[in-house]
């Protein structure tokens, strides 16, 4: 199937998921894969100065002030 836009794909997938809950298994894999990737990015910071390093990173990106 060819989609004209990202929005078309989102709507198609939501309609399929409404009728076929097995698609939630795919969604679970994708969500968990992304979260595990995010976690692993900072895993080498673990240790005594973890929070300090995180806060410096978050300040640099304007997430905290």
């Amino acid at each position: 199937m060819k989609f004209q836009s990202d929005l078309d794909y989102v709507i198609y997938y939501a309609e399929e998921m409404r009728e076929n809950p097995k698609l939630f298994n795919q969604q679970k894999k994708l969500i968990e894969s992304q979260l595990n990737a995010s976690k692993s990015l900072f895993s080498n910071w673990k240790g005594k100065y973890f929070k300090e390093k995180c806060r410096a990173y978050l300040r640099d990106r304007g997430i905290i002030v």
Partner: protein, 199 residues
């Protein structure tokens, strides 16, 4: 009987799926938060928990502005239960952000993501106060929580936030919940956010 993605039973949405690690993170956080405060989960997690497949690193939760002593109790128990606050290790300092109506964030110890973003609200924040006082119950396996009315979430994303990600989240919600959306609720929710649309 054919299995579907969700059912509506006595006004509660029951999603037909297994819990993810993101759900378990939110569930653990809520198990502490609800001892101290009412709450409403809003924004991206609403779409993701109902099937939208996209990345997220934060979960937004509205809470009423707590007293200092309520917050101190919450902060102490969150720390005991393995959460840390981005803004400060001290309850008093973290509370100063809430008092200024600024958001604060918590993650699990030794992790930066995912995080919970706590958004304080008062009656003055009219649209947020409306969604807070008109919750929709939702359940996934044994995890039950509160989100805004689906109609509110759709309109807020389409008319107020209106970024690409928001429009896609709204399209997901419109398509997934097509069979239960109410025009009456859409009209009521539009009234509640109209002052934000014109901004």
């Amino acid at each position: 009987m054919k299995e579907t993605g969700y059912k509506l039973i006595d006004g509660k949405i029951i999603i037909n799926r297994e819990l993810t690690i993101l759900d378990k993170f939110v569930k653990d956080f809520l198990s502490v938060l609800t001892k101290y405060s009412d709450y409403l989960i809003v924004s991206g997690f609403v779409s993701i928990s109902t099937g939208r497949t996209r990345a997220t690193e934060d979960v937004d939760i509205l809470i009423p502005l707590l007293s200092k002593s309520e917050f101190t109790g919450l902060f102490a128990e969150l720390s005991k239960r393995g959460f840390w606050c981005y803004q400060s290790d001290l309850a008093e300092e973290a509370y100063s952000y809430l008092k200024k109506m600024s958001n604060i964030r918590f993650a699990r110890k030794n992790e930066m993501f995912p995080n919970i973003e706590i958004i304080p609200i008062t009656k003055e924040r009219k649209a947020k106060y409306y969604e807070f006082t008109h919750p929709q119950k939702i359940k996934i396996k044994e995890f039950e929580f509160k989100i805004p009315l689906i109609e509110f979430e759709i309109l807020y994303k389409e008319k107020v936030l209106a970024g690409k990600k928001d429009m896609e989240d709204a399209a997901h919600l419109r398509a997934f919940f097509k069979n239960i959306l109410s025009n009456t609720k859409f009209r009521e929710c539009e009234e509640a956010i109209k002052h934000e649309i014109s901004k």
